[in-house]
Symmetry: C2
Subunit: 249 residues, 2 copies
């Protein structure tokens, strides 16, 4: 458990860096909804930092925090730890190891290749959760799913998702290919509406500027495309993922 | 046309504020792709500010800018005008009046109520453009579509869209109701997949936290819902809009 010591505060502060998150097994989750989802999901929580004067404004949140190890910070220190411009006043320190899974059991698995924008990644987690897809494979060149912006964009869905953090996505997909049909989202493929719902499939979404790599395309059993009117160059990767999730739901 | 004077630089700087955009009829568009789309769409451009040393790196952009009124800024001043942390080095000053339309001709019209996040608004513009929906009604409590973040999130699609900026969305919808079926996206309505493509419809998307107002719900001919697995509380409004656009495309 964290205490109100400077050492622990500095440890919490370090969790803004990916390396510190990886070494400590911890991450920060900011905001009322996200912290509540983490606590409700039973994700191990080392501390919830709250800003001076936070308590007494939201009965529900206060009740939820009564079982947590809450540590009060002055406004200046709180704002150093916060990642938003207008922080809501609470930041949880959670363990991420329970959010990983070593093998996949889901029928339909989103796979992320080279997704660089944390908001896109968090948004994909949120949409996947909405449509009931609870296991996600994250490739080694993606942004960290436990990045603060990704966690916030997931709106707490991160706590209901189980991640495979691949350190070699091509190898992971090669292994997956024994059990899953590998579908790669890209331009110039088959209309995604032609794909059957209910099939056992891993669907790869890639960085929207760079697209899938030749190695990943070589593993594809099919290429899925969202047809457009031909004016905009692309959809955001988070939008494309949600549109395909909706069709396969 | 803007010159390299301090007065004009300060005018450009003021365009970060909504009030100055409204009074001047101008807005800022930052980044290579967005500026290129603006110039290619023929949107009147008063100036393109470029960072010292910008030219000579991208032949295509250089060629495109040759017909524009380019003004070079030192790095420090450029960064004051930029809205991103790692600016690409060019910012256009465009006129927005040509991007408005006074009456609607489209068969299918997205209507935005109280959408507060500029990234969501820009993303909706981008997705609408992808699926070929070129007219959008923006309610008076929405964020300004010519906000810098909204423009960037649209990835240039803003220049291919025509906006009705309503100053009374309930009155606008009441008038639209004569020609359009009013469909409101909300929880607990009919499954959106039951709606026919090809119908003449205005579809209202609302702030994801607050939802549609009672006045707007009272105008609805139908409520459309995206069914979920029941775990995540909501989709982002940009995601919900794209999923419905895709189904109606």
């Amino acid at each position: 458990m964290f205490t109100n010591s400077t050492t622990d505060f500095n440890r919490a502060l370090s969790l803004k860096q990916r390396k510190a998150r990886q070494e400590s097994g911890l991450f920060l989750a900011e905001g009322r909804k996200v912290v509540a989802e983490g606590l409700e999901a039973g994700c191990p929580c080392r501390a919830v930092y709250v800003r001076e004067g936070f308590f007494g404004q939201h009965e529900e949140t206060d009740a939820l925090l009564s079982a947590a190890n809450t540590l009060v910070l002055g406004e200046r220190e709180f704002n150093r730890l916060a990642d938003t411009e207008q922080p809501q006043g609470l930041i949880g320190v959670f363990e991420w190891s329970g959010l990983l899974c070593s093998s996949l059991t889901a029928r339909f698995v989103p796979v992320l290749f080279d997704v660089a924008d944390p908001r896109n990644l968090g948004n994909i987690v949120r949409s996947a959760d909405w449509f009931g897809f609870s296991e996600i494979v994250v490739g080694e060149t993606c942004v960290d799913p436990f990045n603060g912006k990704a966690v916030r964009s997931s709106m707490g869905s991160i706590f209901r998702t189980r991640f495979v953090l691949s350190d070699d996505l091509v190898a992971s997909l090669t292994a997956l290919k024994e059990r899953y049909r590998i579908v790669v989202a890209d331009l110039d493929g088959e209309d995604y509406r032609a794909f059957k719902t209910g099939a056992t499939a891993a669907i790869v979404f890639s960085n929207e500027a760079r697209g899938p790599s030749p190695e990943i395309l070589a593993l594809a059993d099919a290429i899925a495309t969202i047809p457009g009117a031909g004016r905009a160059e692309s959809l955001s990767v988070a939008t494309a993922a949600a549109v395909m999730f909706a069709a396969l739901f």
